[in-house]
Each structure stands twice: as structure tokens, then as C-alpha cells.
């Protein structure tokens, strides 16, 4: 109950602020934009019967769109009738001649706007609005509710709006509520339960486009860049939220859940032979070792394997390297200047902030990173 009330208030205030402007001369103006991903930004609103309405339509998408309001329950009929127009479609603005079309607006080119004025129906009901350009009408629609009380049905179960919009507005308005967070995790993401360690190859912030996000036990995660073959950053408190990226048709990164506690700014963490030389790096893939990815890349054609695990106490990460065919000295570099990390290495000698390993030592070594922010900053922990 509390939850529903909160939702209702949020939705109400949302319309009040952004979409619903009642002017002095009693014409109700409603702003609707066509946005990318074949959708309307506003997927439902409510008006009273016999009200003077002005809908301002703004096409912010890169495609053309039209706008039709149909009789209740007639959206799919009209969408299919528009499909059947075939080559006559463009000339008719994809608007089929039908008594079920109440009002319509011709095709609006990209980045242009227009408006539509009418008197709302006297009969209460759910009046669909839709773009009927072929392919659009099945997903690009919304609903005008005509009612005297102005109460909208529960958005989660509202079959008059696209399925993808039946939750999200509520989440984005009210994303701080713990109840909503539960909602996110309840939604099935995959046909299996994700158990750490596991990974996504996905677009991440502050990384190249061939990024890999890895979830580790102990509530730790890291980003490894398969373009530059290097560990980029690590965070604690959650993994990634891919909701936006999985909708498709948009430039977005996976959203990091939690707080970044370490960033590595080393361009070439492993150097073979002469450390001053810019090495030739190539990503070769990864294997799963007890479900942990062990990355494989080459530095000047020498195979390097890197496996990252959490410290047992969860206060940092351990980077384990294997360079089985090393013939020269190997140099490992990391953020030694960072005061918040204490490095403990299994082999090698520190020389001017770089770890120098003999070919033999480089065959297998590890770098244990104790991160003070995880030790002392308990506020970010659960």
C-alpha cells in the first residue's frame, strides 16, 4: 500500500512538473516527444471528457514518425491496416482511412515538431495513440485515458503501454528506495543464476570498447580491458546493471553498482626485456579456471597469463601472472605511488617503482594488493 501510494504521488508529480500544463483558457497542453528506440517519452496521460486538448509533438528521433489516436481497442487493427497500405503508405502518411482513427498527424520528419488540437471524447476509456509507420506501431504507442477522476491504473500491469515501459518510469523516479532495488534483482536477467565469479564483455566507462567486467566473490568486481590488455579498475559493493544497455539502440555503458576503490593507470603493466621500449601487445583470449577468467595476451610475442582473485579477507585483489616462456627479465608496473594500496609480491625486486623479475621468477608470480579504502571505509560496505 505504502509503495503504491508513493508511486502514485511520484507519477502525479512527474506529470505536474514536466508534461501536463493546464493553461488559463482551459486548453490542456500535453507534450509528447518521439525519442530513439521507437518510443514516445510519454506513454500515458489522463484527460477529462470534453476537454480542449492540444498535443505538442516533437520528433527528437532520427526516424520519421506519425501520430494517430484511435478508438479504444483499435490500435492493432490500425497498425495492421497501415501495413497493408504497402506502397501507398508514404503518400497517405501511413494513415489508413478508417472510422477507428479519431485524430491523426502526418509524418513528422526528424527533429521537427507540430501540434494537434481536439476536444477529448465524451465517453471515458483508454484511447491508444500510436505511430503507424511500418515496423513502428507494434512498439511505439501509448494511451490517453479519458476519465472524470484522472486516476491512472497501476503502471506495472497497464497493458495499454509498451511492456518495456511498465516498470522503468517508476524505477527511475524512485531509484533510491530499497524496495525498487529488490525489484531490479527480482527480474530475471538470464535463464540461470549468476554466481561469482562470472563476467560480461560489455561497454564500460573509463575503458576501451573491448572491456570485460568481472564479478568476484567477496562483493568485489573489476574491469579488464581486452583492447589494451590491462587491468583498469576495481570496485566493491555490487557488480553492473545492464538494464539500459540491454534495451539496445542507444549509446550507453553498463552501470557500475558500488564504488570504485582502485584505478590502475599503467599503460603497459608487463614489459619484457627493455622496459623503456613500447611493447607490442595482443589479446589472445581467456580460459576459465575454477570459473575465474585467466586472460591470455602476448607482449612482444611472449605469452602472458593473468588471473585476478579476491584476497581471502576481501580487502583487495591478488593478480597472478604466468609467463612460462620468459627468456629475458620481466618488468611489472602498477600504481606504486598510490598511498592507499600496499603491494606484496611473491617474487622480484622493486627498482625505481618497477618490479624486476628474472625469467625464472616471471614463470609464475603474484601481486597482492591490500586496499586501505576497503579496510577502513566501512560506510560503503553493507
Amino acid at each position: 500500500m505504502m509503495h503504491n501510494l508513493k508511486v502514485a504521488i511520484c507519477i502525479f508529480s512527474y506529470f505536474l512538473c514536466f508534461q501536463y500544463v493546464k493553461a488559463q483558457n482551459s486548453v490542456t497542453t500535453i507534450k509528447i516527444s518521439a525519442i530513439s528506440g521507437m518510443q514516445f517519452d510519454l506513454v500515458r496521460f489522463s484527460v477529462k471528457p470534453n476537454e480542449q486538448i492540444k498535443i505538442v509533438l516533437n520528433n527528437m528521433d532520427d526516424m520519421s514518425h506519425n501520430f494517430l489516436i484511435t478508438k479504444p481497442g483499435k490500435r492493432l487493427d490500425i497498425v495492421n491496416a497501415a501495413l497493408k497500405l504497402e506502397e501507398r503508405g508514404p503518400r497517405l502518411n501511413y494513415i489508413p482511412a478508417s472510422p477507428d482513427v479519431l485524430w491523426s498527424v502526418s509524418v513528422i520528419p526528424a527533429n521537427q515538431s507540430t501540434s494537434l488540437s481536439f476536444t477529448s471524447p465524451s465517453v471515458p476509456g483508454a484511447y491508444p495513440y500510436v505511430c503507424t509507420i511500418p515496423g513502428h506501431g507494434f512498439i511505439m504507442y501509448g494511451v490517453m485515458y479519458v476519465s472524470t477522476d484522472g486516476i491512472l491504473p497501476n503502471i506495472v500491469t497497464d497493458l495499454n503501454i509498451p511492456p518495456s515501459r511498465r516498470v522503468e518510469k517508476l524505477l527511475s523516479i524512485n531509484s533510491n528506495s530499497s524496495m525498487d532495488h529488490e525489484k531490479i534483482t527480482l527480474q530475471a536477467q538470464h535463464p540461470y543464476e549468476s554466481v561469482s565469479p562470472y563476467l560480461y564483455r560489455i561497454f564500460m566507462e573509463d575503458a576501451g570498447p573491448a572491456a570485460i567486467a568481472v564479478s568476484l566473490p567477496n562483493d568485489l568486481s573489476y574491469c579488464w580491458d581486452a583492447g589494451t590488455c590491462r587491468f583498469r579498475y576495481a570496485w566493491s559493493g555490487g557488480f553492473v546493471d545492464n538494464t539500459q544497455i540491454w534495451k539496445g539502440h542507444a549509446n550507453v555503458n553498463a552501470k557500475i553498482v558500488g564504488a570504485i576503490f582502485y584505478r590502475d593507470n599503467t599503460l603497459y603493466p608487463i614489459l619484457v626485456g627493455k622496459p623503456e621500449q613500447v611493447p607490442l601487445i595482443e589479446f589472445r583470449g581467456y580460459s576459465l579456471v575454477n570459473s575465474y577468467p585467466e586472460f591470455h595476451y602476448t607482449v612482444n610475442d611472449i605469452d602472458v597469463f593473468e588471473l585476478i582473485i579476491p584476497r581471502d579477507d576481501g580487502k583487495g585483489l591478488i593478480r597472478k601472472f604466468r609467463i612460462p616462456e620468459a627468456k629475458d627479465d620481466v618488468w611489472f608496473t602498477c600504481n606504486t605511488e598510490s598511498a592507499s594500496v600496499e603491494y606484496e609480491v611473491s617474487a622480484g625486486t622493486w627498482v625505481n617503482g618497477k618490479l624486476k623479475l628474472s625469467a625464472d621468477e616471471a614463470k609464475s608470480f603474484s601481486v597482492n594488493m591490500l586496499n586501505y579504502s576497503l579496510v577502513y571505509n566501512n560506510r560503503k560496505k553493507k
Binding site: 530513439s36 514518425h65 515496423g135 536477467q189 535463464p191 560480461y200 539496445g248 539502440h249 589479446f283
Partner: protein, 506 residues
């Protein structure tokens, strides 16, 4: 699950609507083919990026959220094979436990080496192409030729999105022009808008052909010709099927910045006639809004009759409507050209038809996707029931008209009635998109009806020879058939067919 249910409801609503619009007709296509829906496991968002069959008869599919799953048709069981991939859009089978997968950052070989049924090795095969981070830089393929060479296609970037601060590959801003109001895809990292070739045993891609916009589908025919579809919009006035050959340019200029002989400057600002002279025309045009708006994978009917009478022809998925298209090609004056016709239209098929694969039993499996566009999700299967469909088998250009060959003998009186052949011709301009024109606006030029001046029917009543008042190269000939029936008075399954006439019979 709830999303699934709702989609099913929507889909049922569509299906009922389609049926109610043609109530009196017997449904000839349902006699020959039926569409079955494959149940996908709970929790799977079955936006399908790839489908293929294993030597042991199981199906492998990859999905947009990164899963690879294997389906056993005998038991209807799904089993997880791999996870975590970046928008995989193509899969090729190497063995029962090893696959090649085209994902956003690379072509990857994925193997189960310990026999537990789960992948444990993800080996990069090639990542020798740029990624700007633009959402539209999808990668398609791989398809393999008879010599083992692999071919992939790289989508251009969309003006609807930008590039990431960190990219992979060299940046070349000549690959885009940001004139306000002109909607245009771009190529600012290597080989966007190209079909690339990978020789076995190498990791370096060879540029193969350029000029593609959104080439969401590659396939070979029985003779080993490579075909690639492209999606209508800027520079691609209507969607296409290209016969792709090495070194050729297919029309979208952005990719030309990566041509080693490119003289400099922004390709999209090059004189139109120069670009037009360079380009190779599509073997088949899919008229926008009529035949297809977003064609996907072309798949050759290799079933030798198991899937019906269309062996050797191509099937092409369509995203925007519940349709699979059939393509028939012929060589005219040395070049392949031909016709497209709906194959399955409605009849329980969903929209979003993205990937096709033939099962060992000869049924055609279809994977659906939307990913923010107008589509759907799921996997369906089209089964040939053994009854001969009543359809056009081939449309061929003759010296003065077209020959239509039907799958069945047709009724003579209907076949000889000129009223039953409504021809129009039109063409599509090769042009830069006009300012402020919507991305999916497509204009037919010089639309004219063309009359049939003579009709002859063969002795076996399977072939009709049509004499046309005139034939012009460079036009689409769209034919709408009237009430032509077979000898049992059953109507044709599909009455719309479009022939792309690039070349006249010499």
C-alpha cells in the same frame, strides 16, 4: 516470463487479425508449411543473434545478453553452454563442443575442453577491426567458403550515437560529415562498412568489399557466390541483396576512407556521379514498405527438396513484419539479378526474423530479435508438410518480358487473363539523404504501370510467358497477380513479386 506471456498475447492478437482479414480463403500456405514455436527456457530474453545446427543434430543459439545455449529437439531441453559474450550476432559450428562466435569486440572460438558441457576456453580468432564504441557498430557473420576462408561484415556507426573517449583502432574523422539535418551513418574506425575476409590460420583480416551500411546478413548460394543484405536508409534508398565480390564498392561511401587507394577528403562529399560509377548495384532490391524494411540473413535452401520445391533459392529474414522472403536469381548479361517474393507472411510467424538455419530434417529454424527496433524475440521452426505449395517458382527475364514458372499446373483461363497481371515499374535514386528527411523515408521514382501485351502458357501449364509493352534497365518490375489458380481452383499463396532489372537480355 510475464514479458513472454504478454508478447504471446500480442502475437495472438495479430494473428487473429490477419486471419479475420481473409476469412473466406482456404489457406494454401498452411497446407504446405506450418510455423511452430519453440519454447525457450524461463528467464531467457531470447533475442536471437545466431542459430546453427551441430553434427549431432542439436541446435546452438546465441542471445543478445551473451548466452550460448544448446537445444535438443528430441527432448525439448535447453542447456547452457557459455555466458558473458558481448552482443553475439553470429555463430558457426566447428564441432559438437566448439563454435565460432561473432561478438562485438572480436571473432571468438569457444570450446568445451573438459567435456562437462560448459565452455572453458574463449580464444580470440581475430579482433583486427576498429570499435568506436558507437552502439550501431554491430558485427555479422562468420560465413565460410569452400576453401575455409571466413567472411564477416562490419556495421557503420549511427549518427544517433557518438563514439567513446577511448576507441580501438585508428581514428579517421573523414569517415563522417556532421552537416546538421543530414542523417548519415559513419565510419571513423577501420573497416566499418566493409566485408572482411579471414584466411585460415591467420588473425589478420583482409579488406574484401566496401560500401555497406548495415549488412546484417551474409550467406553463400550453392555455387559459392557470397550474398550480403543491407538495410534501407542513407545512401541505401531501399534495402538490398548484394552479390559481393572482392574489391567492389556497394554504395555507402563512408567506408571508402579505409580503402588503401582513397585519395583523401570525406567520401560522403564526393561527387555523386563518381560514387555512382564506382558502385556495384544490388542483385535484388527489396522495395521499402512493400517487400522488406530490414532484411537480415540470406540462407540458401540446401535441403535438396526436404524443405519443398525451392532448392537452391535463398530465404531472407525480415525484421519489420511477420515475413520471410524468398529470392530467385539468374545470370543476365554476366551479372546475377532476380526477383523477391514473400515466402511466409503471417501464419503464426513473428516479426524480428533475424537468423535462419536448416535443421538436419530440412525444417527452417528462425531466430527473432528486436534490441530496441521493431521486432520480437524467440525461436520458431517452419516445417514443410509435403504438400506442394501453390506459388511462383521462378521469375525470369526474357528478351521482351518475363517467364513465370509455377510450382503447380495452373488453370488456363485465369492464366491467360491479362487482368491478372498488374505490373508497375519504378526505380530508386542513388543519393545522399536530403536534409531533414527521416532515416526510414524511401521514395520510388517514375512509378508507371506497364501493360502486358501478350500471354502464352506452356503445354504443361506451369509456365507463363508475358510480353511487356516495354522493359527498362535500372528499374524494379513489381508484379501483382490476380486470381490465378491451380487446376483445383486454389489461389496462389503469394501474389506480389518484384524483379530487379539491372540488365536487359542482350
Amino acid at each position: 516470463m510475464t514479458i513472454h506471456l504478454k508478447l504471446t498475447q500480442v502475437f495472438f492478437a495479430c494473428f487473429l487479425l490477419f486471419s479475420s482479414n481473409s476469412p473466406a480463403n482456404t489457406d494454401p500456405i498452411n497446407k504446405a508449411y506450418s510455423v511452430q514455436t519453440i519454447q525457450t527456457p524461463p528467464g531467457l530474453i531470447s533475442e536471437t543473434g545466431g542459430l546453427a545446427f551441430l553434427p549431432d543434430g542439436r541446435l546452438v543459439a546465441c542471445f543478445i545478453r551473451g548466452e550460448i545455449m544448446i537445444y535438443t529437439p528430441k527432448t525439448n531441453q535447453w542447456k547452457l553452454f557459455a555466458t558473458g559474450l558481448h552482443e553475439p550476432l553470429g555463430i558457426q559450428v566447428i564441432s559438437n563442443s566448439e563454435f565460432l562466435v561473432m561478438q562485438r569486440p572480436e571473432l571468438t572460438r569457444i570450446k568445451d575442453t573438459d567435456g562437462d558441457g560448459l565452455a572453458d576456453v574463449y580464444e580470440k580468432v581475430t579482433d583486427d577491426f576498429g570499435i568506436s564504441g558507437n552502439y550501431h557498430e554491430f558485427n555479422y557473420g562468420p560465413v565460410k567458403d569452400s576453401k575455409g576462408n571466413q567472411f564477416i561484415a562490419l556495421n557503420t556507426a549511427s549518427q544517433g550515437g557518438s563514439v567513446k573517449p577511448e576507441i580501438r583502432g585508428a581514428l579517421n574523422n573523414l569517415g563522417r560529415d556532421m552537416t546538421p539535418g543530414i542523417y548519415e551513418m559513419y565510419s571513423v574506425v577501420p573497416f566499418r562498412g566493409w566485408v572482411m575476409k579471414l584466411v585460415p590460420g591467420t588473425r589478420k583480416l583482409q579488406p574484401y568489399a566496401s560500401g555497406f551500411r548495415s549488412p546484417n546478413g551474409l550467406g553463400f548460394d550453392l555455387e559459392g557466390n557470397l550474398f550480403v543484405t543491407d538495410n534501407q536508409s542513407d545512401w541505401v534508398e531501399t534495402s538490398t541483396l548484394y552479390h559481393v565480390r572482392e574489391g567492389k564498392f556497394y554504395g555507402h561511401p563512408a567506408s571508402l576512407v579505409w580503402n588503401k587507394d582513397w585519395k583523401g577528403g570525406k567520401p560522403v562529399l564526393s561527387p555523386l556521379d563518381e560514387l555512382d560509377k564506382m558502385r556495384t548495384k544490388a542483385a535484388v532490391l527489396f522495395p521499402q514498405g512493400i517487400m522488406a524494411n530490414s532484411p537480415s540473413q540470406p540462407l540458401c535452401d540446401v535441403t535438396e527438396g526436404k524443405f519443398g520445391p525451392f532448392a537452391g533459392q535463398l530465404f531472407v529474414g525480415e525484421m519489420n513484419r511477420a515475413r520471410i522472403i524468398r529470392v530467385m536469381l539468374e545470370k543476365v548479361d554476366g551479372e546475377l539479378q532476380g526477383a523477391c517474393i514473400p515466402f511466409i507472411d503471417g501464419h503464426g510467424l513473428r516479426r524480428g526474423n533475424n537468423r535462419l538455419a536448416f535443421a538436419p530434417d530440412g525444417s527452417l529454424w528462425v531466430g527473432q530479435i528486436a534490441f530496441g527496433w521493431g521486432g520480437d524475440q524467440g525461436i520458431q521452426r517452419i516445417v514443410f508438410n509435403g504438400d506442394l505449395p501453390n506459388d511462383i517458382h521462378t521469375m525470369k527475364l526474357t528478351k521482351n518480358g518475363f517467364d513465370l514458372t509455377f510450382t503447380q499446373a495452373i488453370e488456363k483461363a485465369t492464366a491467360l487473363n491479362p487482368e491478372n497481371y498488374k505490373f508497375r515499374h519504378y526505380y530508386y535514386k542513388y543519393q545522399r539523404k536530403p536534409k531533414n528527411q527521416g532515416a526510414d523515408t524511401s521514395v520510388q521514382q517514375d512509378i508507371q504501370e506497364v501493360s502486358v501485351t501478350g500471354i502464352k502458357i506452356s503445354a504443361d501449364r506451369k509456365k507463363v510467358s508475358l510480353k511487356m509493352a516495354a522493359l527498362k534497365a535500372g528499374y524494379v518490375y513489381e508484379l501483382k497477380l490476380g486470381n490465378i489458380t491451380n487446376t483445383k481452383a486454389e489461389p496462389l499463396t503469394n501474389k506480389l513479386i518484384c524483379y530487379t532489372l539491372n540488365k536487359l537480355v542482350p
